[in-house]
Amino acid sequence: MASRKVPIKAVLIDLSGTLHVENTAIPGAVDSLKKLRGTGIPIKFVTNTTKESRRCLFERLIGLGLELRKDEIWSSLWAAQDLLRSRNLKPMLMVDDAALEDFSGLTDYGEEEQNAVVIGLAPSMFNFSQLSKAFRLLLTGAGVPLIAIHCGRYYKRCDGLALGPGPFVRALEYASGCHSEVVGKPSPTFFRSALGDVDPAYAVMIGDDVKDDIGGAQAMGMRGFLVQTGKYRTGDESRISPGPAAVCPSFSEAVDILLKEYAQSEGDS
């Protein structure tokens, strides 16, 4: 593989399917992460979660033996609370109870004060009455944003597939005529907020979702390394154009490429 001489200034790493599957780390992931840490390149762990708070994700990853700091986790939920706080919004939150701790201080606005609708995954609120309430809020005035944690169509539940947040976002968009702001992957805003000041051209995204991880990152100028673990299916790499910058059997091989590039750029300088 032709190596590049662009120094790497940030690495974004997907969690589920890339570093672990449920409660098992992907073979080699713990050690490879340690090796990558040795370079000192800033790392962010990016994930589309609608359920787990930052603390909950952190504890799970630590439990798997992965080395990280809590503030390196950049989830779609975290991005949503970041957006709400930065814009001073008072949301009606349709998110899972377990996720509420990321929204501390944002959970108790009365109906009259609310000026934003946030859709995560809240089966107990995804019903006629609550959705109609959210709809009425969207109609109250210009500028009540509809914020989607992400637009996933469905997810796997123990008893089969179940509806994700996306369908309910579409329902509210259809009825109200407004367009949602998606805060999770593959939204460019999400990658940008995870990168901070780093120029995307100097950043790499590693993930198992060819569209949301790789396509999303590459669309805003990063390089995407697709791993063939997790939800990867044969042929995924040809589902986006241009294809992934690299396709690797697992996280370890992706790190090997980065280490090689790193050594080279260090040698050059």
């Binding site: 089966p123 107990s124 995804f126 019903n127 006629f128 009455s129 959705l131 109609s132 709809f135 009425r136 109609l139 169509r153 469905y154 089969g160 597939l161 179940a162 509806l163 994700g164 996306g166 369908p167 309910f168 579409r170 329902a171 509210l172 968009e173 259809y174 009825a175 109200s176 005529g177």
Partner: protein, 263 residues
């Protein structure tokens, strides 16, 4: 000035919810308006996407409110859907309001090969939507029927989501395009006109839904009148694609306009 100016006007199609009644009460002046239209010899049909109650129950409700109408005057999506299901040998999984289940009594619902969505209201729960989704996603060629595709309607609690919102949800989730039975589907208007023996240019539709009532009717060559009752919102008058032939305060005004136009 009369915006409608159509001496051939002979048939009147009226939406029900938001034009004749709001929740459980008649809209002021509407009962008298229907009576006047009747007395003038105009043919009248109540064209509704109402799928929360059967036609019979709706007719009884309207009679109670003082409207001179009977069941046969009401055109609603359920009967049209049922004859379609029978013709095509379709066995539906129903996500509809419990009040309309009696309409489907004669229909085989075992081992479903399509999903039907109506204005299920409180029946729109996460689990019910999941169930419908599960059936669609496991079909080789998923078929989703939607009884109308309204965005919202006005109820005593305020504006409520109509079936169209949930149709959009399932379309997105299962990657399927719903087949619409009801307004604004052209076939729905055409078969109503045929049944009335009225040509499109001889007919006017009065409704509170700028897209489904007014736009749907206009697309079929009817005159479309928007009333400022029911779910009407001022922004409807600036709709990017639908331009009503007239916008009036209520059915009473619409009726005057219609009667004037024939002179």
């Amino acid at each position: 000035m009369n915006l409608l100016k159509n001496p051939r006007l002979n048939g009147v199609l009226l939406d029900v919810t938001g034009v004749l009644k709001d929740g459980g009460t008649a809209i002021h002046g509407s009962v008298e308006a229907v009576r006047k239209l009747r007395e003038a010899g105009l043919k009248i049909r109540l064209v509704t996407n109402e799928t929360q109650v059967t036609r019979r129950a709706l007719a009884e409700n309207l009679l109670d409110l003082g409207y001179p109408v009977q069941e046969l005057d009401i055109v609603s999506p359920c009967p049209a859907l049922i004859s379609f299901l029978q013709r095509e040998n379709l066995r539906p999984h129903l996500l509809v309001h419990s009040n309309v289940l009696p309409e489907f009594e004669g229909i085989d619902q075992s081992n479903p090969n399509c999903v039907v969505l109506g204005d299920a209201a409180e029946n729109f729960t996460y689990e019910h939507l999941n169930e419908a989704f599960g059936i669609l996603i496991n079909m080789k060629k998923p078929r989703l029927f939607s009884l109308g595709r309204g965005r919202y309607y006005s109820d005593k609690e305020g504006l409520m989501l109509d079936v169209g919102a949930f149709t959009a949800a399932l379309e997105y989730a299962a990657d399927v395009k719903a087949e619409i039975i009801g307004k604004p589907q052209p076939e729905f208007f055409r078969s109503t006109l045929k049944d009335m023996g009225v040509e499109p240019e001889e007919a006017v539709m009065v409704g509170d839904d700028v897209v489904s009532d007014v736009g749907g009717a206009q697309d079929c060559g009817l005159t479309g009148v928007l009333v400022r009752t029911g779910k009407y919102r001022p922004s409807d008058e600036k709709h990017p694609t639908v331009h009503p032939d007239a916008v009036v305060d209520d059915l009473a005004h619409a009726a005057n306009l219609i009667l004037e136009s024939r002179k």
